[in-house]
Structure formats: structure tokens, C-alpha cells
Amino acid sequence: MSVVGVIGELLITAGVLVLFFLAWQLWISEFLMGGELTAEASQQSEEWNASAAPTDPPSDDPTDEPSDDPSDEPEPDPDSVAFNPPVTAAPSDQERFAALIVPRWGTDYYRQIAEGISTTGVLDRGLLGHYPTTQLPGQEGNFAIAAHRMGHGGLLHHIHELQLGDHIYVETAEGWYEYSFRNLEYVHPSGVGVIDPVPQDPAAAPSDRYITLTSCNPMYTSNERIIAYGIFDRFYPRDTSAPANGAPDEIAATVNGEA
């Protein structure tokens, strides 16, 4: 057996290893991490349900039928909590304070959102990261979050598949904020206008509540950023005495661990 033969075999082995690593980074890790990430988000939701329970007994007392509560009507009036949602309490750095649910990406798409856009502290850990300079769910302005498109869970892998009107839900301890997807935009990495309180209009004072998702584009590279915008529709308060804990029907199975 010649020395050249051994070197050749080593080189072939190295090539196969590199290809295997790329396949792992782009597809296998996402597949392996998915179930774990969904389970973590479900567990957090259960904890929120558990800690919400003690505040609810007063509403259980009067009757079993919450007949006069406007938030239980199909079309709540404009003054109800549905359109005046609570503002999420400011999270500490790297705290997992929310979750993202997007039915378009499958019933098992349930991913946690943490504070900050640190690569090693948040994004590389299979989390979506909230831009700390942007607003929080319920605040007028822009709730902007970022995540990997490939690798590290590939949380925004399918961002380009969103269609007009698709619902994007953000869950917090208080409940579910429903946004409707409006449009995609492609910007340079320096395009910070996308996370303005009113996206791309730095001078404007916000009167609406937006959500902005940012990730890399084209896939596998970092030359551009792909941006998805949504606008706030309404809020569903967490209510452990209600069916599905108050979650909207569309995501009831996902957030209650039945997906």
C-alpha cells in the first residue's frame, strides 16, 4: 500500500466530513432541534398557565357562564382588552419572555423569544431575539425580532412563505397578541429603518402596533436581510378558566401541547 494511496483516502475522508458537516448545519440540526424547541416553549406556556391560575378565582365565582364579559363575544367592542392589550413588562437581558407561533409554518412551530440579539447568548441557542431598542408586545410601535434562517434551529427558515393575512402570534405571560402578515422587504445589512417604531419612517410617531421579523438572505449567506412585517389585530388574554386557556382556536392545539 503506497503512501499516496493513504493520503488520497484521507483527503476523500476529509471531503466527506466537510459535506456531512454542511448537511448537518443546514438541515439535520434543524430537524433534530425542532422537537426540543417546541417542548421548551410548551413548558414555558404551562408555567404561565400555572402562575396565572391564582389571579382568576374571582371570575370563577359569580357564575359558570361569563355572560356579560365583552371579551367573550365574537366581536369585542373597541374599548375591550382585545384592542387595548397590556404592555409586556420589560424583560432582562437574555430572558425568555415570549414565544412565536406561526400556523403557516406548521402546528408544531412554537419557538421562544428572548431579550437581546446576542449571537452566542440568544440567536445561536435556537431562540428568536428581540431588538432591545424596539418596543414590546402591546406597546404602540414596533416589536422587532431576529433569528437564524438556516442552522441553530433555522427558526425563520420559511419566512419567505408567508402570505398576506397570515396570522403571526406572540405569546407572553398575559396572553396572545395576534398580528397579520403584510409584506416582505429586502434590505442591506445596514437597513436599520426596518426596526423603527414605524418601519422605514424614523420621524413618525407610532399609532399602530407592528411586528418585524429579520433574517438573512439569500439563504446560506449574509449579503442581504429578509424582513417580514405584520400589523396588530387583537389580543387574547390568558384565562385558565376558558377553553384552551383563552388561546384563539387557530393555535389552541399548538399552545396546549396537543399538536
Binding site: F20, S29, G129, Y131, S222
Partner: protein, 51 residues
């Protein structure tokens, strides 16, 4: 190198194939669960935020 490995394995050809498949699976699992996650922290090039 791989020829020597093949000759070093005991048994008839199908036993050797079986051993190789098991070895390959073990190596693949070690790569996926330990080696690749460790290497990954040095080679990530994707930037997903605007700044």
C-alpha cells in the same frame, strides 16, 4: 488504509459489512451530537440582524 481495516476485521464478508455499518453509525452519531456542535461555534457566518 480502508483496505487494511477491511482485512483486519474478522469473519465472513457479511459480518465485516455489519461491523462497518455499526462503526459508521457510531462515528456519524458522535459527529452530529458532539463534534459538529463544537465546531459550529467557530464557523458560523450567518448574520441575521440589521445594524
Amino acid at each position: 488504509m480502508y483496505g487494511a481495516l477491511w482485512r483486519a476485521l474478522p469473519g465472513p464478508w457479511w459480518v465485516r459489512v455489519l461491523i462497518l455499518v455499526i462503526l459508521l453509525a457510531a462515528v456519524a452519531a458522535a459527529l452530529v451530537f458532539w463534534v459538529f456542535p463544537w465546531v459550529d461555534q467557530f464557523v458560523t457566518i450567518q448574520e441575521v440582524t440589521v445594524e
